[in-house]
Amino acid sequence: MTAELSNPLALIAELTHRCPLHCVYCSNPLEMQSRSNELSTEVWSRVFKEAAAAGVLQADFTGGEPLARPDIIDLVRAARTAGLYVNLITSGLPMDEIKLGTLVEAGLDHFQLSFQGAREDTANEISGTKSHAQKLRVLEWLKQQRVAVTLNFVIHRRNIDQLEEMLAIAESSSATRVEFANVQYYGWAFANRENLLPTRKQLDRSVEFLKREQERLKGKIRIEFVVPDYYAKFPKPCMGGWGRKLMLITPSGDALPCHAAQVIPGLTFENVKNRSLRDVWEHSSAFQKFRGENWMQAPCKTCDRREQDFGGCRCQALLLAGDAAATDPVCSLAPLRPEVDAILTGMNSAPPAEIFVKPSWLYRPNPA
């Protein structure tokens, strides 16, 4: 196993679960870590060095809100000095123009600004806070900085009809890349699914629009689009394959193969406080569990696509099929696909008027 094991390529550093936003689709677990459990600057700095030595190229700083860490500048500098490409995935608050300049000076390579919508009212409703105006200010400040900028629009039923306005925001900024990423249904998003999943009609219209815009903006802005996999024919190659390319470190130092892995019962996670990153990558039982193909069941284990999508997402298999080793139920070949179709049918036949009524959202709270 070890002989053919590839290097991790990216380290997802969840620096904190604290966040000024309360997005209804947050990818953080339902049980969050408090500030007192967060890793120190020193441990993170060691982890960045170990990551670079293990072959990792990129560090993705995320959270919660990574800017909520008072040592964020030191962490950017430590990761960059270790030889990593540093991505900051942020809501843009709390921050001012001076702090932005200091982040770039410390070695930040790529600033990914998340947006909850194109309009202030939608965005503020989804994030449960007044955050939209600040994001537009950050975009102005970014024009003065030599850093790559990506706008990350998280898409769902209540903002998928605003794509044109979202793209207009991108075109008036210094962004060279825009992600239109449909919500993925785990954690908080799973709890709010019935109010988030777009209709078939909305989705078809958005795909058609974005394909056209991709062509128009070629050479100016790279548009990337992630469809909600409930509507896809085949599952997404989740994390590029379990334990194959990515490693996620939680705020308290647990090393996970993916954001949601803690929902899978029976997995034991190692902590970077007492294990080296390479040791975890090679030996952690959680990373071994769904690595390669030996765990696969029918129809995955003989499927021609198993090296393309790796059986899809393990956490989704657990959430929808009750078995983390099952074929991802969104796959058209999965035995449980009819259940996903039933969810879509129910949702697509719902009366369209509900878009004007504010749903009763389950907002993500802030950890202590």
Binding site: L57, Q58, Y85, N87, H110, A148, T176, I221
Partner: protein, 92 residues
Amino acid sequence: MPPDVNSFPRLAPGCRLNEKSQQQRMLLMPERALRLNGPSLEIIERCDGKHTVQQIVVDLQKIYSKAEPQKVESDILGYLALLHDQRALDFT
């Protein structure tokens, strides 16, 4: 579209080479990394806003003098266009 031979290609913000000390040289950029071999590294190292496309072609034709000069030129133009589409290069 092939770039203007008199323009100056420069790596876009957030696109850079990894450290010289690394065994495998890579072009790092948002959400991806490109492995660089001999000629692609020679090209990228000259995308500094100081070399024109034409100068890069001439330099590479010298370094790879055994290759067909026409082929060297078309390969370089194709590679620069590809990097431009990925938003890794700006031309001034």
